[in-house]
Amino acid sequence: MKQLLTPKKLAIRVGSALLLLAAVMFVCSMIGTETVSLKAVFTGGGTEASINPDYVIFFRIRLPRIILAGLVGAALACAGVVFQVLLRNPLADPYILGISSGAGLGAIIAVISGFNWTLWGRSPIAVFAFSGALGTIWLVWFIGRLTGKFHVTGLLLAGVVVNAFFSALMMFLTSIAKSDQVYATIFWLMGNMKEGDFLVLWIAAGCVVGGIVALFYIGPQLNALSFGADDARSMGVNVAGTRIIAFGIAAGITAVSVSLSGLIGFVGLVVPHGVRLVLGPDHRQLLPLSGIAGAIFLVIADTLARVIVAPAQLPVGVVTAIVGGPLFLILLVKYSRKVNWLK
């Protein structure tokens, strides 16, 4: 007997999920290729001449990386939720509208052009990838609108076309690139987590968390939208406004994630399903909890990526695929029994 969601219940669930996230992050920060002792960490950073490696590893390498993994996981999971409801398709993920190939194209252009300038000391790949992602979203939206005002099918087709075209461009550029450039690009594409610098992390956190809160605000409208635009409008929901906000935020946080850590698949697809299965489709709950679940998922996946084949590292996208792939198959089988349209 499922009871209705109340503010109190939601607060308790979000609170306990956050505690779980904190615990997972702490445990994972103690895991790595080097052993780090907590005591040594807290003796401070050391002097300029003799840097305390435990401190550096904990605070400047592991923790920033784990925080980034958490942010990216949360962003991708929430974007997945949004695209699944906007497109009324449980198999949608944040990359379905071509964001991935746009970002990838941006990245490979950055690598190949060999730009030596740095944006305030940071590599241009992230900036190019971000612009590529945003540019693609705009392009897909624009093409989709040519088929009539926000026709879902039109948007999906536009995404497929843009994806195909940009992927072809990427293949061409890869074929004429130097070998180390190729390696760098492919590696970036498979998803990677690095310790970002504090400013980048701070701003990303602001964007992602702010975005998720905004999506929570339109939770009830998203619930109504899941019955279709016409029905939602008849119930008094501002469909156009909701769509623009949801789409814009979801695309934005996806672009931020992709530019910081490459293409990490399956998080945006599998996590929303898992949370929906357990807690139901109410978006006021689904959004914050998918975000936290996505963060936990990616932090753990990244930790595995760091240690499984040490001293090398697996791209984190490989880990999420290996874990997420079978999970997705199970969900697909379960869904195809319930929903008619897959037959």
């Binding site: 490696p53 590893i57 000391g121 940071r122 590696f187 690095k194 702010g210 905004a214 001293p311 090398a312």
Partner: protein
């Protein structure tokens, strides 16, 4: 106040605080901490850098190398800090280096940046051409207070190369096809350091200028190249004799090109020629021996 306005306000404040606190402080140039007078702990992230360090007498100071640093044999005993393509930043930090030396391509340049941001001293060198190698040796020597040894090393190498040049100066160049991969067929083009070694050894690349550095080519181009010598370096140690047999079998179908007709297909040990490092002369001499075996018949290696 409306919940949207609250959200906007909080996010804006958040961003402002972030910019104020962290600012663009971290990006402002490479304000590196001054190097200690005696550099006692060095991490090298490339095998040729490791070779250079050993060659200028810094072998003992090395506290971390990548997995593929196998020359000289002492290098193989050093603690590992990851692979050439994926150095492990945690291991680098744990080695407490005074100086970290990396190559200049994207992946490693990025790592050097990150280490510098955390507060470590880094040195990045580009070693893509023969000229770069000498510059890199001198730069490393300058940074580690071993200018004398660095100059001696470059002097030695240059002298030997000069002697070799006069030796092989027979007026005409031998055409060489440098095969790095057989299936699909890939050769070293004119923009590579291998090409420079070939020219120093008195040869000429049988392939004309190409867009790619290591272009894949077809049988047509092999025939058109009219190459007099084919050289295949081995990859990653392995059985030279076995590779030689397979190579001869493969090339036998091209029996009309001069190299195969006059039985001048050579398989050589890849180590000395795949890495641009202090063994530059040794590698170049090996190539010269393939190109003009008669000159070297009486000269010991």
């Amino acid at each position: 106040m409306n919940k949207w306005l609250w959200l906007l306000l909080i996010v804006t404040c958040w961003m402002a605080i972030g910019v104020a606190v962290f600012g663009f402080r971290e990006g402002r140039g490479h304000s590196s901490t001054p190097l200690p007078d005696r550099i006692g702990r060095i991490v090298s992230l490339a095998p040729n850098i490791t070779e250079i360090l050993f060659a200028i007498g810094l072998g003992d100071e090395i506290v971390g190398v990548t997995l593929d640093s196998d020359y000289p044999s002492d290098a193989a005993e050093k603690p590992k800090v990851g692979t050439f393509w994926q150095p492990d930043i945690e291991a680098v930090v744990a080695a407490k280096p005074d100086l970290v030396i990396t190559l200049g391509f994207e992946q490693q340049k990025n790592l050097a940046e990150r280490l510098r941001r955390i507060g470590y001293n880094g040195l990045t060198v580009n070693i893509e051409k023969v000229g770069d190698l000498f510059a890199a040796i001198e730069k490393i020597g300058a940074e580690t207070n071993r200018q004398r040894q660095a100059n001696e090393l470059t002097g030695r190498i240059r002298a030997k190369l000069q002697r070799l040049a006069t030796l092989v100066d027979t007026g005409d160049n031998v055409r060489v096809l440098w095969v790095v991969q057989r299936e699909p067929l890939r050769v070293a083009g004119r923009g590579t350091f291998v090409n420079e070694m070939i020219e120093l050894a008195g040869g000429e690349n049988a392939i004309g200028p190409t867009v790619h550095k290591y272009p894949p080519i077809g049988s047509e181009q092999v025939l058109a190249s009219y190459t007099g010598v084919i050289i295949e370096p081995t990859m990653g140690g392995g059985d030279i004799k076995g590779q030689r047999d397979r190579a001869l079998q493969y090339w036998s179908k091209f029996k009309y090109i001069p190299a195969v007709a006059s039985n001048r297909v050579y398989v050589i040990d890849g180590d000395k020629v795949s890495r641009l490092g202090p063994r530059l002369y040794e590698g170049t001499e090996t190539i010269a021996r393939c190109l003009r075996p008669e000159i070297f018949k009486n000269i010991k290696q």
